[in-house]
């Protein structure tokens, strides 16, 4: 399932939405949104998982991070498998891309 990012036309908050699903803003409930691409943000917090749900056992260890975008909106994504997890810190800049398996994938610009 692919996830894409939408910016709300009313309050400008950003939501991750399954491709093809109707958009509604989580913050103001507006249904008017615009798909956005080429989004970057900074890592707000992150974890490296060593115990995983069934479908992710082969990925262990893997990183998941919350990312704050420029307007302080938070999205959650899987750190790219090319990431050096030891180099990820709060404040690391990441580029965000949709991904069929993981929803959103985070590509650190300075932790590869």
């Amino acid at each position: 399932m692919n996830y894409v990012l939408y910016a709300c036309q009313r309050c400008h908050k950003i939501s991750a939405v399954a491709e093809g699903a109707p958009f509604h803003c989580w913050a103001c409930q507006s249904t008017e949104g615009t798909m956005i691409e080429n989004v970057s943000g900074t890592v707000e917090s992150f974890t490296v998982l060593h115990v995983a749900p069934l479908h992710y056992l082969d990925d262990i260890p893997y990183g998941v991070a919350t990312v704050l975008l420029n307007n302080q909106v938070r999205v959650v994504g899987r750190l790219s498998r090319f990431t050096d997890l030891d180099r990820v810190t709060i404040g690391t800049v990441v580029h965000i891309s949709p991904d069929e398996r993981y929803g959103l994938v985070l590509h650190p610009l300075d932790a590869r």
């Binding site: 974890t47 959650v76 993981y102």
Partner: protein, 387 residues
């Protein structure tokens, strides 16, 4: 609203309970609570049953009817509720509400879960279903250990909280469990070194920062004032039982260092009970992960934002501290059979207020329970008092 009292409580041991079915555990808890209250099954008018995972792990739904039938409860409605780890707390809240609004005079709340027959990966999978699936966040492979690790790391960055602070929680609650024969880790103390060197689960949290997988059931009989007086015994009044909803996804949270539904439910509970955090003598809080107890201290108003770690490290929440927290051992060491936890918290606080706990607190007139479901999407706060 009428005054509401807890007339009876019961809890099975928590842990790996062999081949016990969820029905047998729930019935044992229900019978135990009715016996403790000295009421017959014919007198119970409403049943509220809390469970999270039986539909997925055991293929058993319709549990309220199954349990009501097993307990020979035939007078009124039997209702199942699901709010992830707050399922038991919600069952208690609805039972108290039914009595408070005069729908009935005697209600039974039961919570139960059977989890240890499944693998860790299966349970992790089922627990992750409590996240907002449409948000896409579970697709990342995030688990609940991962969720609380994200909060833990942010708390450390913003407030300077340390891993030692989290280890204090794990050590305190494991030590407390050594006085609770129903606790999963009764008879299994741990050292500082073992806590701090245990294997990583979701960085920065380690094994002893995480609650175990457990089986168990707990129950409470909730009654009106007239019934409580007729039954006699120590009167335990429900000063407040509040429930609040919060975000079920990280992207909707206003902060990673606090759970908004806890703040809202706690504020409503304090206002309803006409008490403040300073009046709470003992508390059973939802320490599903060590970091969750640190955050709970702040959200409940026991200390200021960011002060949870130092507050716990000061010894204030120890058995002989100013406000003991999780004398039962908490979820971390008593165990966490998800649907039973909220009612197990009520069991411990009622025993403390009666003075009949395995290790009575030095002062216990007013007690608080704090039960959190999912990512803080469902929260129940109860304030109970010996009157």
């Amino acid at each position: 609203m009428r005054k509401v009292y807890v007339a009876g409580v019961f809890s099975t041991p928590f842990g790996k309970l062999g081949d016990a079915s969820i029905k047998s555990l729930a019935i044992a808890a229900g019978i135990g609570a009715m016996a403790d209250a000295k009421v017959s099954s014919e007198a119970v008018e409403h049943l509220y049953f809390g469970n999270f995972a039986a539909g997925m792990l055991q293929g058993q739904k319709m549990l309220a009817a199954v349990v009501a039938s097993g307990l020979r409860l035939t007078l009124g409605p039997a209702t199942a509720v699901e709010g992830a780890c707050a399922s038991g707390g919600i069952a208690f809240h609805l039972a108290a509400l039914a009595v408070a609004t005069g729908q009935c005079d005697i209600a039974l709340a039961v919570g139960a879960e059977v989890m240890t027959g499944s693998t860790t990966e299966q349970v992790t999978n089922v627990l992750a279903s409590a996240m907002d699936q449409a948000s896409g966040e579970p697709l990342t492979g995030l688990t609940f250990a991962g969720f609380f690790s994200l909060l833990a790391r942010r708390h450390m960055a913003v407030y300077g909280t340390t891993m030692d602070h989290f280890a204090y929680v794990a050590k305190k609650n494991r030590d407390n469990a050594q006085y609770n024969p129903r606790a999963q880790f009764f008879g299994h103390p741990v050292t500082w070194e073992k806590i701090q060197q245990s294997r990583l689960i979701a960085e920065p949290l380690r094994l002893y920062d995480c609650c175990p997988i457990s089986d168990g059931a707990s129950a409470a009989i909730i009654v009106s004032e007239n019934v409580a007086k007729a039954l006699g015994g120590t009167m335990i009044e429900v000063l407040a039982s509040t429930q609040a909803a919060g975000p079920a996804a990280l992207q909707e949270m206003d902060s990673l260092t606090s759970l908004s539904a806890v703040r809202h439910a706690a504020q409503a509970a304090y206002e309803t009970a006409h008490v403040g955090p300073e009046d709470i003598d003992i508390a059973e809080v939802h320490d599903c992960f060590s970091a969750a107890e640190v955050i709970a201290m702040e959200d409940l108003g026991f200390c200021g934002p960011g002060e949870g770690g130092p507050y716990i490290a000061s010894g204030s929440t120890l058995w002989d501290g100013e406000r003991p927290v999780n004398l039962s051992g908490g979820l971390l060491s008593k165990g966490h059979p998800v649907g039973a936890t909220g009612l197990a918290q009520v069991y411990e606080v009622v025993q403390q207020l009666r003075g009949t706990a395995d290790r009575p607190a030095r002062r216990a007139r007013i007690g608080l329970t704090h039960n959190v479901g999912g990512t803080g999407g469902a929260v129940v706060i109860n304030i109970l008092a010996r009157t």
